[in-house]
Subunit: 338 residues, 4 copies
């Protein structure tokens, strides 16, 4: 932490800041410029975080030079984290594909979807049993019935199941049926839920919040890791910007950034990331070329009949095309599609 | 809902869309232009919401012309909602002030804060007992101990208490101590929590999500009202933009927009909205001039000692100045400070 | 400038950075923490700006602690700048109102508009003769014919004229007819144009770019002042965000921020800032309560006939209401409407 | 255009709108729903654009269903535009690379850079002779001297030259030395400049404005095409968002979107798009996988000595790596690197 004093700060104010900081158990390093004094703090991050430095008289700003996360950081663990989910490996040189409908709508729809994505080469079945929806009047999901259908589809196809958990109460029931717990974008900073999935020990797919910085996202992951659960995957799904042609702006730079900053695997969801089915395949290819460890893709036997997100879902045929074209990119970057 | 067909849509595609829509129980109104056909849908919103129209062949886009909310809308209830909170009236010609520290830190700090804001003329004491924090290593609040201190401060000063509830589990305990349940920005689309506070029947202060549109915010409120709880106040606290001088960008246009679109009261929080204490008083005045029904202000006996948000908290003296200057604006717009 | 070295930086890399910096004529102040070394730079800003510090091996980031602007800063000139425009004073305790149609459409329309805004108490007539339009097929303005009409309206009413200049070529002709040169949002970083209006010596109204930070905006003003022209007014007109209910998000915090950071007057344009006529009057009141030195308002004799921006223009009657209500706020904050 | 009337609109208001619209030479198609009337407009876009429909009494909103651009649209010209720049083909199955320093700093630096990028396989040399800079005190470019150096580098290496033009005055001189005129992000809506480069007939590289939607960007290109100049390339270089880890957020979805909407080639600049040299190669690969027709990359013989943008420039070695890895992706998507 660096404290930049105002050019008009008095010696008394500077002394006050130093007293406060050293009183909290930190050391200081003083740098007196022509115009202003700069005070560097040396010591425990945690102690610094609790000092309201910018509220002190004479302080212009306090600048953090180190991140507040630890366990998610590549500085702490330099080798890639590889997660074994019932034999399917996420991370390393693997490329995994999670695919299926936005929502579980019926047994038929789900089993058909599962077969389609299995045949095309995916390793995971996605599908929401609990659906967070903007409007209270929209379809909210089949809940435990939907979870049972997902488990049945796993029985039949051997696909692993990834599905969203929306509150603490349902962590246990979702864990009973699923292989991976998904935290949705709207819950990325639902810290109670993060702690709960941390305690569950289950693999977690942590979607990025719509307006979350990479830094905040890494802190959210830190909540899970700090409960002792290191099986966390990031999932980039687009951020909210002024652009309205796409539903969100898929931030692929975040993938490369995370691969530098953290050891955890990164999945990309171009379906929610763009909201436009025509853009899903090009962006899936771009994601893999840019370093993603996996993809999450919405596929529906008949998008025009879907109860949610039909306009961003791929038809079975389009999904096969995606898998073929992504395979060419994967080969070019040395990734193995399991 | 209006469906805009692509200029290259075939008659067969147009017929398909019409069949699908009428099959769902809706009527259509066809408009054939030179370049393209436009299909208007007439009927229940709910039926339309479940059609994945943009996924159908030949459809360029589907445009919603009516909002998905009902109960929050001024079209449904034209007169202003006025909420009586233990005798303090929010809405109508009143202007209420909610003030206090960001977090409850200790009994002394809280009681001192309560006395300060009471003396300066506020009606509500704010203070967080449960603190959602970006980092798991930051101060997380005193929890139920903090709630007890808030209740004690109420005993002594007569101030009403507004405090945040962060999960379903604690709705009951917070309701036992507080007068108003606050839903924080990060939980604005925590739909399970919205339903729970809806069922509680308690007055709710619904903060705007960092990246929430006015439309989504109204839908979030609709979740609460649809549980039969009409005692809801909006609280504008800034949105996330590219500007980094301020912590958020306080969107005062949203106040005027909400007063047009909805009958519910609107509170403004310029402390979180700007993150810079020097901007709090000017923005508080602007909020009242622009039509806000109340203010939420962070005040700390000694901001430089605060465990969180010190840089945006007012000193007791600055808060008195704010109350004085806001009073002049309130008088100019015909608002009564209780 | 502060250079934060990476925790893995070698002594050799640290020495290299120091050598490069001192070689450029700067002094350094070294601070060696437990984890990393921090190098403070002391000396001329200009020298620092030309060092690509972040490209040097071992450097994690370089943090600027001082602004790149000088002449616009309140640190350089602490008292408010007051601009005398042919006897109308902008700044100080005055509140000025600039009003009129978005575009000059015809002599009749303009003269009628001028009379309306004059009668309601405005001091400036606004109206575009050169119109930057998103589409090449939209109405582009009457150009010099429009300027002549503005000058005629000034003759008749005594109002001062503010109008946009869109390129260097027309600085001379616009200066011949207008009292204030307006730089539009799209040209805020058209640096050649900024230098040209700087050299003209004319009063300049500098609109904020749609995606400009306050810092960049102040730098844009610095371009004008650095040519010796100190007669510059900022004009907040909304920034681009994800919110789509309003055309832009009017950032009133920027007004208070600028009044702290700079000595120059600040005008607010709630017409473009919101794009919705119903929000113009509440936001005009908010702007004045928040410290604005003036308002720019679109008024049209018949908005439904306007060739541009009709949906955000006030009718004559609504403008009279605005002036009355703004007058009450002005009185409450001690501003004099000229 | 579709006009949505308010639920409270009177028959008189509806009649008024119809009269106004038909009076302007348009036909209407009326759709009367349960709650509201919707009026479809049929006829010339240009006529519609000049009606201020939202300002008319009883109108809730006017929704445009067709784009305002024509010549840039794939609906008008379905086959890809291919541009021949002195024998180098942009578009089709080719992949072109434009590389070089941010700014021309000296003859030595430029000639060395040119040789490096030539040897690594690029077809174009980039380098700014006129530099738009946020601060008036930053290095502003060598101007015509710089242009001469670029031309000399072309002589020696055979590379084509792409360089920025910042105002109308210098269109002629830049055209005399360069092969492609670059319009920078800050000038994307400098409409006078767009018209001037349109008239020049020179190939144009049109960078996206920081806050420009895809729609606005296409309209900006339309300005150039409407002057008869069809040799236009889009260049995605990142948009401004809340994320601050990267300098901008590179929006690769825009590439796929443009390839659908327009026939013009699309280039991607991951150097400005990310601002972080470590992210440049992954994003270059992502861009090509996602469908880009070319790349623009900052390369500097010694980034740590650069006068601008050093932190995002590649070293010669890193650029060779990029070219190698991009080549693998190009092969996977069937692109030929010239």
């Amino acid at each position: 932490m660096i404290i930049v004093m105002s050019p008009t700060a008095t010696q008394h104010e500077i002394d006050n800041v130093i007293a406060r900081v050293t009183g909290a158990g930190l050391k200081v390093h003083l740098s007196e410029g022509k115009l202003r004094t700069i005070i560097g703090l040396i010591g425990e991050k945690k102690l610094m975080a609790q000092l309201p430095l910018e509220a002190m008289a004479g302080v212009e700003k306090a600048i953090s030079v180190t991140a507040g996360y630890k366990l998610v950081s590549r500085e702490v663990k330099s080798e890639d984290t590889v997660i074994d989910i019932g034999g399917v490996i996420v991370g390393g040189n693997n490329l995994v594909v999670m695919a299926g409908p936005c929502a579980v709508e019926s047994r038929e729809q789900l089993l058909e979807s599962a077969q389609i994505v299995k045949n095309a080469g995916a390793q995971f079945l996605r599908g929401g049993a609990y659906k967070p929806r903007t409007s209270p009047y929209s379809f909210q999901g089949l809940e435990e019935e939907g979870l049972k259908m997902l488990a049945e589809a796993r029985e039949i196809t051997g696909l692993k199941v990834v599905t969203e958990v929306v509150d603490i109460q349902s962590v246990a029931v979702v864990s009973a049926y699923a292989d991976v717990l998904q935290i949705g974008a709207r819950n990325m900073q639902n810290f109670q839920l993060l702690k709960a999935v941390g305690k569950s020990g289950m693999p977690v797919l942590l979607k990025r919040g719509m307006a979350a910085t990479i830094n905040e996202w890494m802190h959210a992951a830190e909540y899970i890791l700090s409960e002792g659960n290191f099986n966390v995957m990031f999932c980039e799904r687009g951020i909210r910007t002024f652009e309205d042609y796409t539903r969100n702006t898929l931030d692929l730079s975040a993938v490369a950034a995370l691969k530098n900053l953290s050891h955890l695997p990164v999945i990309v969801d171009p379906s929610h990331g763009t909201g436009v089915w025509k853009l899903v395949t090009p962006m899936a290819k771009a994601a893999v070329a840019g370093g993603a460890d996996g993809l999450m893709i919405e596929v529906h036997p008949n998008p025009a009949e879907a109860l949610s997100d039909g306009s961003q879902s791929l038809t079975p045929t389009n999904f096969q095309t995606l898998m073929h074209e992504v395979g060419l990119i994967a080969a070019a970057v040395g990734r193995k599609m399991a």
